[in-house]
């Protein structure tokens, strides 16, 4: 396992137009998708997840049912075990029927089986008819995004491509280029003897294949030729039409924020065509690792994927690097488990390194696939991270030493010379703004009594920052909770262990998780809550630990865990800040990535409003630091992190806010560095409103 490929990253960063366009496009698409999903309501999503999970649980039975239905309707079905089987079947068929010209509608499964190259080697002309796919085909490239394959090409590049490959001069305008291909591809539609499609779904009860498209090429591919072949991964099967519509209702919403795409085409033996009905129909059902994945605890969830691309659009590293770096055939977040399913973990590990474990893809995924945990497992199964990454998992040890020797550590972090040494030895980029140490630990400041308490209303889990780097947040949290009438215990725990999860050291992560669960489990009887001020800690306790440990105790801890601000949101005592206390009227609220899964409703924003501030929120996604990753040297982290940080800062500064509220200590580090604004933990505003004094009063970091 290696870290990010330096030359590939630098090359990608060098393409300024691409980076800028992709970031803006993905930002817009993800905002549309989120808005659409929020407007859709939970019922639709849970029906989708249920339907998809039912497929995963019944894969073999559904394959048999589909085979029966298609044959009954007069079609031919071939169940291909491997990619090789599938492509040979189609190539043989084309040969037997004397096919010389094939048209295709967009299909990732045919990319997976590398069908085009085999057909071309047999002298068969293959024309992609989806506009984006056609452009990529003409450019001799592969798609860089699963639903926007040519998003990396500019209009000028496309116009040049048309000139070079099709011999036509078109003005570099999307309308003119589209118009050209309307005519150019019509010739192909008329000429083709065989049409090949993918499948968004296969409906087992009737044997139909469902295609979801916007351009109409899918309809023409299934209407014009005399032989029609559909290729579908077996996981695309749903049992009934009700289940098909559970997926079809959500898919366009998650993909582009719309209730419907222009066309849903349902095909099968004898379906509508220019020959009145399709004369010859074949369905190729592809296994290629899917059945095995349905029995794999880490990969089975990924089989629920509906290929909406919502995960790609939110992914911070994908937005910067794109699918030619972060991806093989399957790109971006979903590309990692899907590469593992179809090509094995070693191949998947080559792209897994571009994941920084922000968890936004899990939050965005309508099928609720825990992609980040699957990626961590791929990193783990392929041998874990690099030596430097292993050192980063010792972040807590570094923080503890800093708590003992704050003067020395603050000096080291400030000195140019030592920053160069840090950079060369530990791989921490010298340009990264580091947090200063306050000195001492929260446990020491609070005293033994809090550690020994066996019964309390709330168990506070401070994580590394509030325990060792700046205990003032921890102290303030305890005082606020006490002012609200809670008794609080603060048992000595390890940090959440996120770096171990992030870099794929799951054996170490398991040890840390087990120790923390062991420490917490006896304290959470009778509705006692575990409260975190660091969103990453809440994410680990709630989401990651039960998956890593799989024990009843970890489940119990998960169910008891809350983020501080979601607990405080229910407190009626929190009232507006009194006049003449220092406060900014307009505050930008930054919603940390790991908080999105835990408190998707943004309770902090509502709390800030409740205490009389005007909270401004922008859904720009990840601020780009992702824990220790954004601190890493150059192309391994900081350079990409800075690309994101600068863009996010621009959006924040445009709001005119002079201050930022957030809960994540690392987001604070990034936001301070790139906006230059003061960043404060939300608890500081709440404390102010309750009249709880800060001890000590000086703001050190955030």
């Amino acid at each position: 396992m290696s870290s990010m490929n330096k030359s590939k990253v630098l090359q990608a960063l060098g393409k300024r137009w691409e980076v800028e366009t992709r970031w803006r496009s993905m930002l817009t698409m993800s905002q549309k998708s989120r808005k659409g999903i929020e407007g859709l309501g939970a019922g639709y999503l849970s029906r989708l997840v249920e339907s998809r999970q039912k497929t995963v649980d019944n894969l073999e039975r559904l394959v048999a049912l589909t085979v029966e239905s298609v044959r009954r309707a007069g079609g031919q079905v071939y169940v291909a075990e491997t990619a090789e089987d599938a492509r040979s079947y189609i190539a043989e068929l084309a040969k037997r029927r004397g096919v010389g010209y094939v048209i295709k509608s967009k299909s990732m499964t045919t990319e997976e089986i590398e069908l085009n190259s085999l057909l071309l080697s047999q002298g068969i002309e293959v024309v992609e008819t989806d506009l984006g796919e056609r452009l990529v085909q003409l450019a001799g490239q592969r798609p860089s995004h699963i639903i926007a394959p040519a998003v990396h090409l500019s209009r000028e590049e496309i116009a040049r491509l048309v000139k070079e490959k099709r011999g036509a001069t078109v003005p570099p305008r999307p309308e003119a280029i589209t118009r050209f291909f309307r005519t150019d591809l019509w010739t192909s539609f008329q000429q083709a003897e065989m049409g090949i499609t993918g499948a968004n779904l296969v409906v087992a009860e009737t044997g139909h294949v469902v295609l979801v498209t916007n351009e109409g090429n899918g309809r023409l591919v299934t209407t014009m030729p005399r032989i029609l072949v559909s290729v579908a991964g077996v996981e695309k099967i749903v049992e009934s039409w009700e289940e098909a519509f559970n997926v079809l209702r959500v898919l366009p919403v998650a993909a582009v924020g719309r209730d419907a795409t222009s066309y849903i085409t349902v095909i099968g033996p004898g379906s509508m065509s220019r020959h009145a009905s399709v004369p010859e129909y074949h369905l190729v059902l592809l296994n290629n690792g899917r059945l095995a994945a349905s029995r794999d605890p880490w990969l089975r969830e990924a089989l629920r994927c509906i290929r909406c691309a919502a995960c790609l659009d939110v992914c911070p590293t994908f937005r910067i690097l794109g699918g030619h770096v972060f991806g093989e055939i399957y790109t971006g977040p979903m590309g990692v488990p899907w590469t593992a399913i179809t090509e094995g973990v070693e191949e998947a590990s080559k792209i897994a390194k571009y994941c920084v474990s922000c968890s936004l893809c899990h939050h965005a995924c309508p099928a609720e696939i825990d992609i980040p945990m699957a990626i961590s497992w791929v990193k783990h199964a392929s041998g874990g991270g690099t030596m430097r990454e292993r050192m980063l998992t010792m972040y807590e040890l570094y923080a503890r030493l800093g708590a003992h020797l704050p003067g020395l550590f603050n000096w080291l972090q400030g000195s140019r010379f030592s920053r160069r040494v840090f950079e060369n030895l530990l791989g921490i980029d010298r340009h990264r703004l580091m947090h200063r140490f306050r000195g001492g630990s929260l446990y020491k400041v609070l005293g033994e009594e809090y550690q020994r308490k066996r019964s309390a209303d709330i168990v506070y889990f401070p994580d590394t920052y509030a325990a060792y780097i700046d205990w003032s947040i921890g102290l303030l949290t305890v005082r606020v909770l006490e002012a609200l009438g809670y008794s609080v215990a603060v048992p000595k725990t390890h940090g959440s262990g996120m770096p171990s999860i992030q870099y794929g050291f799951l054996t170490k992560a398991k040890k840390i998780a087990a120790a923390n669960v062991e420490r917490l489990k006896d304290l959470i009887k009778d509705g006692v809550k575990v409260v975190c001020t660091e969103p990453t800690a809440a994410y680990c306790l709630r989401e990651a630990y039960p998956k890593i440990l799989g024990t009843p105790a970890s489940q119990k801890v998960a169910e008891s865990t809350h983020e501080l601000t979601s607990l405080l949101a229910g407190e009626a005592q929190i009232q507006p800040i009194k006049q003449n206390q220092s406060s900014q009227a307009k505050v930008l609220y930054h919603h940390p990535c790991h908080a999105r899964l835990i408190s998707p409703q943004r309770p902090s924003e509502k709390l800030l409003e409740r205490i009389g501030l005007s909270a401004v929120y922008i859904d720009y996604g990840c601020c780009g630091i992702a824990g220790t990753w954004g601190m890493r040297k150059g192309a391994e982290g900081f350079l990409i992190s800075a690309e994101i940080g600068r863009r996010v800062a621009e959006l924040i500064l445009e709001t005119g806010c002079k201050e930022i509220a957030t809960e994540s200590s690392v987001c604070a580090q990034q936001l301070r560095q790139f906006t230059g604004l003061k960043v404060r933990h939300t608890i500081r505003y709440i404390a102010e409103s309750l009249g709880v004094q800060e001890q000590p009063p000086r703001l050190l970091n955030f």
Binding site: I158, E175, A276
Partner: protein
């Protein structure tokens, strides 16, 4: 008559359907009578500058009346087997009028079921208009499931807007391989004479 001027109002479900279709980029109309339908079709085809009209999957009686009336404006033919080899002639400047068998109100889509003529008329020409009866509007996809199970079609198409793409710099462009513009008419009268 067109939505805004009709004296005879559509049912709430049909109204919801038309509103959603409009949001999806259709031109929409509710026509209480045959004459209303005729005036909508001729108004739209004039607006689009249509040079030729083809009817696909429309009942023989209605097709005959429409052909007679619309031919005054532009040549109007009923799509038949003979056209299959010269579909290219329909690509530019023509309008396909097709009979849909259902509409889906929640998502705004016209459904063609097992009708190759309607399928071609909705797909090949530069413009297309789908006709359906008010009673054929279904609330949502799940109602369509029952219809599919009952009628067991070999194939269907749900059309929810003009053909479009955002493949070049994510700029939205209409009219890629299918119609550049499309219309949807809900008829308050019997279409299948």
């Amino acid at each position: 008559m067109r939505e805004e001027t009709t004296g005879n109002n559509p049912t709430p479900l049909a109204r919801r359907f038309l509103a959603k279709c409009k949001e999806n980029g259709f031109q929409v109309a509710y026509t209480p009578s045959y004459n209303d339908l005729l005036s909508v079709l001729s108004e739209w085809s004039t607006g689009w500058g249509v040079g030729k009209i083809v009817l696909g999957g429309v009942s023989a009686g209605l097709a005959e009346r429409l052909r007679g009336a619309l031919s005054v404006q532009s040549p109007c033919e009923v799509l038949g087997e003979a056209d299959l080899e010269k579909l290219g002639d329909l690509r530019a400047g023509s309008l396909g009028v097709f009979r849909a068998r259902a509409g889906v109100a929640e998502t705004g889509g016209l459904v063609i079921i097992d009708d190759w003529k309607a399928n071609l008329a909705s797909l090949i020409p530069e413009y297309s208009v789908g006709l359906l009866k008010e009673s054929e509007v279904l609330p949502d996809y799940w109602e369509l499931s029952s219809l599919i199970r009952k009628s067991r079609p070999a194939g269907l198409a749900i059309i929810s807007g003009p053909s479009s793409t955002s493949d070049i710099e994510l700029t939205h462009v209409v009219g890629v391989h299918g119609p550049v513009a499309c219309g949807c008419v809900v008829a308050g009268f019997e279409l299948d004479e």
